[in-house]
């Protein structure tokens, strides 16, 4: 609740001052989407591009650069000019976790402009398994091998942390994106999976169940289910959708881009906002500028410690 209030307040504040803007791009803005066509990031990015154009008259060209949790995109973004005309759209994990596995990427390589929405990270199982909680999963592990579907190093480490906390063995299955993990679960290649938000229709159709939230609070689809932290597992895998630029972007450019996005996300008529409300409820999450940078850097440090602890 506290996060929602902060978000709404920040949104209202930013929405109040759009007219102060001075900066205008010299040409089209390239919005590099760090994931493939059709997913949640892609839909948000393309809708947002259309609405920025309508709001400011800037030409925004979305382009998919998928691969490796957004790092294929971020590795290219790093080398671009910080003039506000090349932006990246990915998730916070791209900056606060993925650089750990890369020799030439660091969280300092980017200017953090704004977040747009937050995940609905949860532990999922098939409804037909009959499991309702993590304890049911633990009990089942005594009789059958547990295969946990995930999409990246961070969430795989998360699955291992949960397994260790429950005292069970799990085998990990790496799929492409959230949609991939759900397909693995539905087609019975795995019996547990992480879902960041795309699970909504399958949970509502009663095919999948949420065993636990992996956010700091409960997820909207199962408000009664406890978080991992509530159950004594010190793990928060929640992430936000984020727009960035290369490091060294002047503050006025960063703030102007941030402010137009905040305006769009504050508008109840906005298509992007409506998509976020539906897919990543309950509302957009807008953290910007210095506060956002601080969030990324501190989460990066926390993730480094988590992986060190896991390796021990």
């Amino acid at each position: 609740m506290k996060r929602i209030l902060t978000t709404t307040a920040a949104t209202a504040l930013l929405a109040a001052g759009p007219a102060l803007a001075e900066w205008n791009p010299d040409g089209p803005i390239r919005l590099w989407i760090g994931y493939g066509a059709g997913g949640g990031t892609d839909v948000q990015g393309r809708t947002l591009a259309k609405e920025i154009e309508a709001k400011r008259g800037w030409q925004v060209i979305p382009e998919n650069k998928a691969g490796d949790d957004g790092t294929v995109m971020s590795a290219q973004l790093k080398g671009e000019a910080p003039d506000g005309q090349t932006l990246g759209f990915a998730i916070t994990t791209t900056y606060d976790f993925a650089p750990m596995n890369s020799d030439n990427l660091s969280p300092e390589d980017f200017t953090y402009i704004t977040t747009t929405a937050g995940s609905q990270m949860a532990v999922l199982a098939r409804a037909e398994s009959g499991w309702k909680t993590l304890d049911d999963l633990k009990a089942a592990a005594a009789n059958e091998p547990i295969v946990w579907a995930n999409w990246g190093t961070q969430v795989e480490a998360g699955a291992e942390i949960v397994a260790r906390a429950l005292g069970i063995d799990v085998n990990h299955l790496r799929m492409k994106g959230g949609r991939g993990t759900l397909n693995a679960l539905v087609s019975m290649d795995a019996n547990v999976a992480w879902g960041g938000g795309v699970q909504k229709p399958l949970v509502e159709a009663g095919e999948l169940v949420i065993l636990s939230s992996a956010e700091t609070g409960p997820v909207a689809l199962a408000p009664e289910m406890p978080t991992l932290m509530d159950q004594g597992i010190d793990l928060n895998l929640g992430y936000q959708y984020i727009i960035t630029g290369p490091a060294g972007m002047p503050d006025e450019i960063r703030d102007e881009i941030g402010s137009v996005i905040a305006e769009i996300l504050a508008d109840p008529e906005s298509e992007t906002r409506q998509f976020i409300e539906k897919q990543y409820p309950p509302a957009p999450i807008v953290t910007q500028g210095a506060e956002l940078r601080e969030q990324i850097l501190s989460t990066y440090e926390a993730n480094v410690s988590m992986m060190k602890a896991l390796a021990e």
Binding site: V72, R174, N183, S187, D189, A205, K278
Partner: protein, 528 residues
């Protein structure tokens, strides 16, 4: 059953309903456009359906963009081209002894002598009728078989079995495509090798990118396929043209067309058409074998069963019936492994998969055919398997394409004689310009352009070495899926090194693959 009907109705209506609920005729218009383009392309010697699909895909994506609303018009047009080209290919084969597409090669055997005897119109109408009936038949089989197969796959096949199935498909394809199976295998392996460029699924960063960050996400698929398939063909055509210039022939004139085909004759052809369609459908459902084999087998069967086998090759109408019904039946059946498993069987299927991957929000595979109960939640949304609605939408567009082939196809087929006169000097620069522009627009500017050019050279070398391009392209396309499955089955087994050999089904499939490989080596020894 109710649920099936509900999804069927939703699928059919989704083709005609826009996002705002209004009437939407764009997909139908695009299917019609596709069929017309397909027939024209099929009737032009030197061009083929996959050729036109390769060029059309990037152009269509740049016009319609991404997302569900783009999927129907883009796929509608591609399906139309696929179906139109199979029908159109018969015209130059019959009238001028020059098959518009390689699939129509056998149509020349009986079609051309018929035209020489002054029965060109009858032969063309026979080809059209047999082709369209064959196509409808195989579509019907697709509609029934794909969901059943997909459900069976979901229930029976686990990760190791799925990995073994892809290995078997690749071996099978290498063994049956082209004249030299070993060359097919080399082509397939080469395709798999180049597909390694990009990122690993282990999170260890870029692989084989030569330090070029733009290649981090892998080689741009559409541009590479465009290069290896279309541009390499242009290079070969230019070279052949230079060589043949001295022996250039003058324009060819159309022979006397003769009488029409009567409805009585059509009716009497039906058993033969259905036999050809059955052969085509069976062959088409297997990956890689393709239309030429289906046509050959069907023609041979018809000759052996005929009361006058000697007339075959001298203008037997049964010959035209057998080849055209079989080669057209391949196109629908080829989508069975695509829809249920995501494994392409021929070039046309490759482009259908590429379109789906490029546009996003939909992927072929067993998960498409889940019959999720449809529930309406007030004030929110309707819960259902939207992929299944889309699959039925695609089926609907295939039926529309067939209707277009029946009606427009019948009219166009009679008018196509003059396409043969388009000189290659005009066609080649147009194809080259459109392909390069398409590669530039589709795949991130110069990266797309350069990849297309590099793959054009690869394609040229492969063709000159008589290595079939199809295993190369399919290896290139399937390798990432195979890598994902093998990595997945290894980790899901808890790191068991024998993970592929512990399931009897996987073991059978792998044994079959090894048997195919041994057979290929033996064959190559016998040949040499």
């Amino acid at each position: 059953m109710d649920l099936l009907l509900q999804y069927l109705v939703l699928g059919i209506t989704s083709v005609f309903t826009a996002a705002d609920g209004g009437l939407w005729l764009l997909p139908m218009g695009m299917v019609l456009t596709g069929v017309v383009i397909g027939i024209l392309v099929g009737a032009t010697p030197g061009l083929s359906g996959p050729f036109a699909m390769a060029i059309a895909l990037p152009v269509l994506v740049s016009i319609f963009g991404y997302g569900n609303e783009a999927l129907y018009p883009v796929l509608g047009c591609l399906l139309g081209i696929m179906k139109g080209a199979t029908v159109g290919g018969a015209v130059p084969a019959i009238l001028f002894n020059t098959p518009g597409t390689p699939d129509a090669f056998l149509t020349t055997v009986d079609g051309y002598p018929l035209a020489q005897k002054g029965q060109g119109r009858r032969a063309i109408q026979t080809a059209h009728f047999a082709s369209v009936v064959g196509d409808n038949f195989s579509d019907l089989v697709l509609f029934i078989a794909a969901p059943v197969l997909a459900v069976a796959v979901e229930r029976v096949l686990d990760l190791p079995e799925k990995s073994a199935l892809i290995i078997l498909s690749l071996c099978f394809m290498a063994a049956v495509v082209g004249k030299a199976p070993l060359k097919g295998l080399i082509g397939g392996l080469l395709g798999m090798f180049v597909s390694l460029v990009g990122t690993t699924m282990s999170g260890d960063g870029p692989r084989m990118t030569l330090g070029i960050p733009e290649l981090g996400g892998g080689l741009p698929l559409t541009s590479c396929v465009l290069g290896v398939l279309v541009l390499s063909e242009v290079l070969i055509a230019v070279e052949d043209m230079c060589r043949d210039r001295a022996a250039a022939k003058g324009p060819v004139s159309a022979p006397e067309m003769g009488p029409r085909l009567s409805w009585g004759e059509r009716w009497r052809m039906m058993p033969a058409i259905l036999r050809g369609a059955g052969i085509g459908t069976m062959i088409g459902a297997l990956p890689g074998i393709g239309t030429t084999t289906a046509a050959t087998l069907s023609h041979d069967t018809a000759r052996r069963r005929s009361k006058s086998p000697d007339s075959f090759g001298k203008g037997a109408i049964e010959g035209v019936v057998a080849t055209e019904s079989a080669n057209s039946a391949v196109s629908g059946a080829n989508l069975i492994p695509v829809m249920s498993l995501g494994i392409p069987g021929n070039f046309a299927a490759v482009f259908i998969i590429l379109a789906v991957e490029t546009i996003g929000d939909f992927a072929f595979g067993p998960q498409v055919f889940r019959f999720t109960p449809i529930k309406e939640i007030e004030g929110f949304d309707t819960i259902m398997n939207r992929d299944l609605v889309m699959a039925f939408g695609l089926f609907t567009m295939m039926v529309i394409a067939n209707l277009c082939n029946w009606s427009v196809g019948s009219f166009l087929m009679g008018q196509l004689g003059r396409l043969i006169r388009i000189p290659k000097d005009v066609m080649l620069p147009v194809i080259l310009t459109v392909s390069l522009t398409a590669a530039y627009v589709q795949d991130g500017g110069y990266v797309g352009l350069l990849s297309a050019c590099v793959f054009a050279v690869i394609g040229y070398v492969l063709r000159r070495l008589e290595i079939s391009i199809l295993p190369f392209v399919i290896g290139f396309l399937l390798a990432p899926a195979l890598e994902g499955l093998i990595r997945g089955s290894f980790t899901a087994s808890g790191g068991d090194p024998w993970f592929l050999l512990k399931s009897p089904i996987a073991l059978v499939m792998l044994s079959l693959s090894i048997w195919l490989l041994v057979r290929m080596f033996r064959q190559s020894r016998t040949v040499s």
